[in-house]
Structures are given as C-alpha cells and as structure tokens.
C-alpha cells in the first residue's frame, strides 16, 4: 500500500469562487476519501425570519442566493400563500414561471461558462457569458434588477410584463438559442472537451438514489424526477419532459444542463403564448397560521421550504433545504477513486452554491 497524504482543497480555490473546504485523502494521485467542512459564510438568514415582518422577509429570502434569487423568493412566497389559502391570479402564475425559467437559463449558462473555465477553454467561457449577458439585460428590462429582482410578493407579483416586453423577450430568446446552438457543438462534440468530461466522475443510478442526489446531477444518472411536475406555477399547463441521461459522468451532466436551457426556452415560449390577461396580485389580509412544505425545482435541483407561522406578523420558523446541501454526500462518493487533477471539475459538475447552503 502506498503512503497516504492529505491535501487541503479550498476554501479559496481558483476554480471555485465559493468557500467549501475538503480534506482530500490521497494515495499517490488518487483520491481515497474526501472530508468536507462548510460553514464559512453562515449569515443567519433563517433566524432573521423571527425578527422581520413576513412580507418584508421576501427581500431576505431573495438574498439567500445570487443566482437563484428569483426562485428563493418564489418558494418562500408560495409556501406562505399556501398557509394563508391565497389563490394566485393566473397571470401571476405565468409571470412566475417565465421569470423562473429565465433564471434557469441564466444559471445554466453561468455554469457552462464556469465549466469551460475549469477545463481551461477560456474563449468558450467568454462566449457562454456573452450569451448570458442577454438574459441578464432582459431581467433588468423586465424587473429592474440584474441579480436581485424584487418582483415577488405574497399574493402575486409586483411588476407586470406588457406585450412589448414579452415580444422583446421572445426576440432575445431567439438570439440566445441561435448563439447557444453553435457553442453547444463545442461543448458536446469537441474532442478536447470530451477527453476532459467523458467517463470522469461516474455516478450510477443506484448511487444517485442512495445518496439522495437532486437536480441535473441526479437526472444525468438516469432518474427522471423533476419538481416542476408537482404543479406549482403555470407548469401544469405547459408541456415538458424531464431531461435525463444514462451515463452519469461529467459529460452527461453537461448534456443535461445544455438541454435544459433549450427546454427552458421552449417553456417560456409556451408560457408567453398562453399567458392570460388579468390581475397580477391579490390583496392579502391577516397573518399566516400553520405550516407548509414547498418543493421547488431550482436550476441546481430540488429546494425545500418549510414555513411555520403562529398567527402574528413574525414567523416561527423558515427552513430552506438547498439543492447543493443534498448533493454534497453524493459528490463525496463520486470523488472517491478520481484523480486529484479532476477534483475541481468534479466539484463544479454538481453546480455547487455554497452561499445557498450556508444561508
């Protein structure tokens, strides 16, 4: 048996701007075990729910994450709305769906860029982020913010998209789709990219199930679960199938995420075609009392929101189970047996969001 050594990875690492620390136990260049530690950027946002008015907390919930900020706000609002038995107007549901899918495009293009950066293909990284810029501009045009949107509120949406905005959105999506098709060929067919991704970090279907992986990470291992099928927002009216791949390696994860961008573009097109006229919010009176579990499919996977309310304007408890938290055990299993040089790319393929995880 060769000698074992421990190499610290993170919390500062060039590939991953977020602070996760791993102690990698190595045998020569091979990883035998990875021991994680997180908690470097805990902000106490869940505790804050006891001191903030439940209407104001939407702004805090949005700030849990900078990438899926819209979906965090939406998940919190939907759970409080369920407790208060608020029926959302149909237009608000469609608007939420459109913005949520725009967030998915924005998150997945960001991830593709980071992946290209991680395997050292910097021009591909820049091209991907050039495409992402268009969706960010569209966010600013429709909501007024590029990262924090502040359009969710309990009982509906704060802002509407008029016909002109929807038309502009469709035109932008056409451009994005065209640009993305051309770089998709590089991501999926290029030999250098394939050498880096094929067969690296294989996670079998059974392992993904046993370790409770979620999101594209799980779907790349062949489990076709998608929380959008649960029927929140306008998803029951839209047609889509969860995208899966059987291979379970890094290439499969890239493939699933790229196809999900095209799926999101398709979903937005369907939603824009079907969006009904009408109110975008209903007035909400009184205070919530009760508890609810809300499950939302975020770009990174399934997020769970648990809200417990006691009938005053302050909530008792708000808990977020973020997708990255669920993916970390599966990631540690995946790291076993891989080469040290592949570790950064493997951590990246779960699309980790440590700021979400630590809240």
């Amino acid at each position: 048996m060769s000698t074992r050594s421990v190499v610290p990875f993170g919390p500062q690492h060039p590939v991953l701007p977020e602070p996760i620390h791993l102690d990698l136990v190595l045998e020569d260049e091979k990883v035998v075990e990875a021991i994680p530690s997180i908690g470097f950027i805990h902000r106490g946002l869940e505790k804050l729910v006891e001191k903030k008015d439940f209407n104001d907390y939407v702004f805090v919930a949005e700030r849990i994450c900078g990438i899926c900020s819209f979906m965090h706000g939406m998940g919190y609002c939907e759970s409080v709305e369920h407790i208060m038995n608020v029926e959302l107007p149909p237009r608000a549901k469609y608007l939420r769906t459109i913005w949520a899918e725009m967030s998915r495009i924005h998150s997945h293009t960001l991830w593709l860029g980071l992946l290209a950066d991680a395997f050292g293909f910097d021009s591909l990284f820049m091209q991907t982020w050039r495409i992402r810029e268009k969706i960010l501009d569209m966010f600013e045009y429709t909501t007024g913010g590029r990262v924090i949107f502040s359009v969710n509120k309990i009982g509906g949406q704060r802002k509407d998209m008029d016909a002109e905005a929807l038309k502009k959105l469709l035109a932008t999506l056409d451009e994005i789709e065209k640009d993305l098709r051309s770089i998709t060929k590089t991501f999926l067919n290029d030999s250098t990219v394939n050498t880096r991704l094929r067969g690296v970090g294989v996670m079998t279907k059974q392992q993904a199930h046993d370790f409770g992986a979620v999101g594209p990470f799980m779907r790349a291992s062949g489990i076709g679960l998608d929380m959008r099928n649960l029927g929140y927002g306008a998803y029951p009216d839209l047609e889509f199938e969860p995208i899966t791949s059987e291979e379970g390696d890094s290439y499969a994860r890239t493939y699933v995420r790229i196809q999900e961008i095209f799926q999101s573009i398709n979903l937005i097109r369907q939603a824009v075609a079907k969006i009904p006229d009408g109110e975008i919010a209903v007035p909400v009176k009184g205070f919530p009392k009760g508890e609810y579990f809300m499950r939302v499919e975020q770009p990174r996977g399934e997020a769970i929101y648990y809200v417990k309310a006691n009938g005053t304007k302050f909530l008792d408890r708000m808990r977020v189970r973020t997708p990255t938290f669920a993916n970390i055990p599966a990631m540690l299993e995946m790291l076993k047996g891989c080469q040290l040089a592949d570790v950064p790319i493997l951590i990246l393929t779960i699309d980790p969001c440590i700021s979400c995880t630590e809240r």
Binding site: D53, Y141, G144, G145, T186, S191
Partner: protein, 175 residues
Amino acid sequence: MSIMNFTKTVVKNLFSKPATRMYPRQPRNYPARTRGHIEIDIDSCIFCGMCSRKCPTGAITVTRPQRTWSIKRFSCIQCGYCVESCPKKCLSMHQTYTEPDGVKRTDTFAGPPQAAKPAAPKAGVPAAPKAEAPVAQKAETPAAPKAEAPSVPKVEASTAPRAETSAGVKDGGEK
C-alpha cells in the same frame, strides 16, 4: 467527437463588433425599470410615514413635526416597497445608482412649512410662502464628528478631507 468545432465562432468574432462597450466613454442606457435610487418630490409629501414603516431595512426616517424626510442611501436596497406604498405617489425610482462614497451618507429633505390650517381662515394669513421651500441638504453622517448645526455640515464634510489630504502631502514632503 470532432475537432475544429469552435472555428466558426472564432471567425465570426474576428469580423464582428465587440460584445462589450467602452464603458465610461460610451455610457450605459438603463432600461426604464432599472432600480437605481429613490427620489422624493418633497413638495407633495404629507409626511405620513408610510414609507418608513414599510421599508424593510429601516433606511427611511420621517419626522412629522420638523417636516423632514431622510434616507440612508447605503442602507436602501432599492426594493421599491416605499414607492408602491406612498399614498401621494411623491416617491419615485430613478435609474442612476447611488455613487460610491467614503462615508455612509444620509440625505435629508425638508418640506415646505405647513400651510395654515383651513380651520382658521378668518385670520387672513395666506398660505405659508413657498418661495423659500424645498431645501435639500445633506445632513451629517453617523461616521462624521458631531456637527454643531445640521445646515452647515455639507461645507465641513467637503473641507475636512481636503485638509487631511493637504496635511498628508505636507508630511510626505517633509520626509
């Protein structure tokens, strides 16, 4: 698997305009909805305090007796909750962002003196003169040393750092 997939993109980039902008020279056109900073039309403000009660960060302070409205620019998160809740619609969101500053500044706006109550019309006093009205002044910041009067600190704030820098230069020269 194939090679030369990226060539088309590369060639296209060689003959197209840059995707970026020469930023300071070519200013950015903000969309109408961009949430930059809050402005107040102090003349129509009734100092009801609704905005300060709704503000999730407590950035807005309204004092009804003194008729002032102040906002901590660096606490404001540009959520637009105050703009929505203002009953007189005198608050509005503007596109330009708050400029960087060395101190966390608070902007105070003083409203025009209250017009005479319509309950006492016989006095014949005309409504308070509006000529001297909207005086927007920058109040003292918590970081700055306690100022004597709230009307002067703008001058002090602008002179103090200059004095410091000149002293620094002088020291450096002596060394």
